[in-house]
């Protein structure tokens, strides 16, 4: 009778927008670019998202290999286990970041056999010419992962860039220290440029960098202008789609393709709004994805929410930009300085507002603002067990939100970013059902 379905036969995930549907091929092309780079005489680098260096890397024609993306693909294809097992065989603890474990397991295997592991997802991840990690910013794996990878590739140089975020503190205001934070970041970025010049044998074209950064700025604007259209009722695009559209945002910043993508998305959303086309026919609940990276192997859970009439007009995850014109950036001619200020101003964006609300932290302030702007009925968060950077403090944020704002229904889902063993579909769906019941009773 019924036998086990092969993973490929699972139901394909529905996206609300055409833009989001395009992303799979964009993603695939990125992987192919990386695989072809060597024959095309281009240099490659392992890179992390949200590291302030996108435009710098693009300007120097270095092909970025986004290791988090590759791990996410393995997770989404439900083919991460064998790489996680390889990492464990190396004595890496399963409790560490599973992106890193997947990547390290893959790299160890590839280096051991001298070629891509068999049936590597989408052709696999090639050995890079250099690795660009970052310290201090959101997470420890960002400085430990590539250092650990070097053990399997001792001839590949690593540059670790310091990218601090100014803390939100009671005893001083961020403006008081912004000056020396910017100076530090500028020096670190300049050091990165020197490193890249050394390992590519080319000099940085500063004029071109200015252009690319300007394109990046305009893309920042375009992203939020498009996303803010999701305030409409009914909502034309949900977080499920945003987990796709994050691809050009985080992996292609500084390219014309990324800008065009969000321009097209903007136009598409405008059309949908004009036709009153929502993600679901009967929109009953509007939810905020308040934190946590998604379970990449279970994005169909968004369709499950939708089947209950619940949509996600907004999320904090991967919404890593704000319009430049809101950031109050000083006018500087040096693109590196501009990048540093952009970084500092973005990462402190919610501080002033949070100060005005007793008990608020910037994260909580952000949640409150989205709840009001997007007409939110409830907040959902996802606890991924292997990621301490994005997933610690979520319980606290929700508690604080209820304490200082209002007793809004909240739900915390639990699993992981790519380790499917941590996920129980039956349990997850049950929790979602219970949450929908709560939303319904609050409505009445």
């Amino acid at each position: 009778m019924t036998e086990e379905k092969k993973p490929e036969e699972r139901k394909k995930r529905r996206t609300a927008t055409e833009a989001a549907a395009k992303v799979a091929s964009i993603s695939r092309a990125m992987i192919s670019d990386a695989l072809r780079a060597r024959e095309e005489g281009k240099k490659t680098a392992y890179t992390f998202i949200y590291c302030c260096y996108d435009e710098i890397v693009r300007t120097m024609d270095i092909v970025p290999i986004w290791t988090e993306n590759f791990a996410g693909i393995c997770g989404a294809k439900r083919d991460a286990q064998r790489f996680l097992e390889r990492a464990e065989a190396q004595n890496l603890s399963r409790s560490l970041c599973t992106y890193a474990l997947c990547g390290l397991g893959f790299d160890a295997w590839r280096e051991e056999i001298g070629q891509m592991p068999p049936d590597a997802p989408w052709g696999g991840q090639p050995k890079p010419d250099m690795m660009l990690s970052s310290g201090q910013i959101i997470c420890d794996p960002r400085s430990k992962w590539y250092q650990a990878a070097q053990h399997y590739m001792p001839d590949v140089p690593v540059y670790n860039i310091g990218l601090p975020i100014i803390p939100y503190e009671a005893d001083y205001d961020y403006q008081e220290v912004a000056g020396y934070y910017v100076r530090y970041i500028v020096e670190q970025l300049r050091g990165l440029v020197e490193f890249l010049e050394k390992h590519t044998g080319r000099k940085m074209d500063w004029d071109r960098l200015s252009e690319v950064v300007y394109l990046g700025d305009r893309t920042w604007n375009m992203v939020i202008e498009a996303y803010e259209l999701r305030r409409a009722i009914p909502c034309p695009m949900g977080t499920g789609d945003a987990m796709n559209t994050m691809v050009p945002l985080t992996f292609m910043m500084g390219t014309q393709q990324a800008y065009d993508f969000f321009k097209d998305l903007y136009d598409e959303l405008q059309r949908k709004i004009a036709n009153k086309e929502g993600v679901v026919l009967d929109e009953k609940y509007r939810l905020l994805w308040g934190g946590g990276l998604p379970a990449w192997f279970a994005l169909t859970d968004f369709n499950y929410f939708e089947s209950k009439g619940a949509v996600f007009p907004a999320e904090t995850t991967y919404r890593l930009v704000e319009p430049i014109y809101r950031l109050d950036l000083p006018k500087v001619s040096d693109p590196i300085e501009h990048l540093a200020w952009r970084w500092v101003k973005w990462s402190t964006y919610w501080y002033d507002k949070a100060r005005k609300r007793p008990g608020a932290s910037p994260e909580v302030e952000r949640l409150i603002n989205y709840i009001e702007e997007y007409n939110i009925d409830g907040v959902v968060m996802h606890e991924a067990f292997s990621c301490r950077s994005w997933h610690v403090g979520l319980i606290w944020q929700l508690n604080q939100l209820k304490k200082i704002y209002r007793d809004i229904p909240t739900l915390i889902l639990e699993s992981d970013i790519i380790d499917i063993n941590s996920y129980n579909e039956v349990d997850t769906r049950a929790r979602i059902d219970a949450f929908i019941d709560t939303l319904e009773s609050v409505k009445r």
Binding site: T2, E3, E4, E85, R86, E88, A89, N421, V426
Partner: protein, 280 residues
């Protein structure tokens, strides 16, 4: 004059006693049960009866296993790692990798010239141990002992994606209700455990010859699932449950010989063979 040495291996599921001189002269295997402290001396007495010996004829007693601390009549206690290694290296001298699949834990041991050079243990998680199989067997309504043979008649393999015992049981029961043949499910379960065991053992550099010991070695289906992952054929001792106790006895023999050859004192902390009371 023949010298006798005894090894007692108190596992979480089974307690084994072996008496050796030049060869094994007696062996006993019984279920441990909850009262292992009281059981130890009874099992020892049973073995002595088979060998036709009094306890004071035993030169040295080594205890091992989960319950090794609670054997007052032992001269010394050593870990299962050392004991399994010694037992396997005497029974199968070419073995360099040992995989012991027990009731509640599993271990991997690397040997060079009969000496332990590396080891791994999994005693935190049921998946990959006999317990996993017990839970599944119950869920399927079959006996644990049937599982090996049953998997041999499977027509197709079924993939169990959960490696957590609790989730896997749910998955298996659900599939059974959907009509998936039991034999196919059992094969899938063996494959899942084999993956888990392999994951643990692969922390060691697996080198041939590879031996499997413990209760898991008696499950032909599990062995068949494990071999392709290991990449080597496996050797199984005739009595895979006894390697720990045999090794323990032999380590006792080694200790006595070493002490006499080098004129060293040998600590004997042995108490009389009597039932462990509350006050001992």
């Amino acid at each position: 004059m023949a010298e006798y040495f005894a090894g007692i291996d108190i596992g979480s599921t089974m307690t084994k006693v072996v008496i050796v001189n030049e060869a094994v002269v007696a062996s006993v295997i019984v279920a441990t049960g909850p009262e292992h402290r009281k059981l130890a001396n009874r099992v020892m007495e049973e073995a002595l009866a088979i060998a036709g010996l009094d306890f004071d004829k035993i030169t040295y007693v080594v205890a091992t296993g989960y319950g090794r601390i609670n054997v007052p009549f032992a001269d010394r206690q050593l870990t299962e790692i050392s004991c399994h290694a010694r037992g396997v290296s005497s029974l199968l001298p070419t073995v360099r990798t040992v995989i012991d699949i027990g009731g509640q834990d599993c271990k991997g041991i690397k040997l060079h010239n009969g000496q332990v050079v590396d080891f791994v243990m999994n005693d935190k998680c049921a998946a990959g141990t006999g317990r996993f199989l017990e839970v599944i067997a119950e869920g399927l309504g079959i006996r644990l002992e049937e599982m090996g043979e049953l998997s041999l008649i499977a027509k197709n393999e079924v993939s169990i994606s959960s490696t957590c015992t609790v989730f896997a049981e749910q998955e298996v029961v659900t599939k059974l209700a959907e009509g998936v043949p039991v034999a196919n499910l059992v094969t899938g379960v063996h494959k899942a455990i084999a993956a888990r065991i392999y994951g643990m053992v692969s922390r060691l550099k697996i080198e041939p010859d590879v031996a499997i010991t413990g209760g898991g070695a008696r499950n032909i289906g599990l062995v068949r699932a494990l071999e392709p992952r290991l990449g080597y054929p496996t050797m199984i001792p005739d009595e895979p449950l006894l390697t720990g106790a045999i090794g323990a006895a032999l380590l006792g023999k080694d200790a006595v010989r070493n002490a006499s050859e080098n004129n060293l004192p040998l600590a004997r902390i042995r108490h009389p063979l009597q039932e462990l009371t509350f006050f001992t």
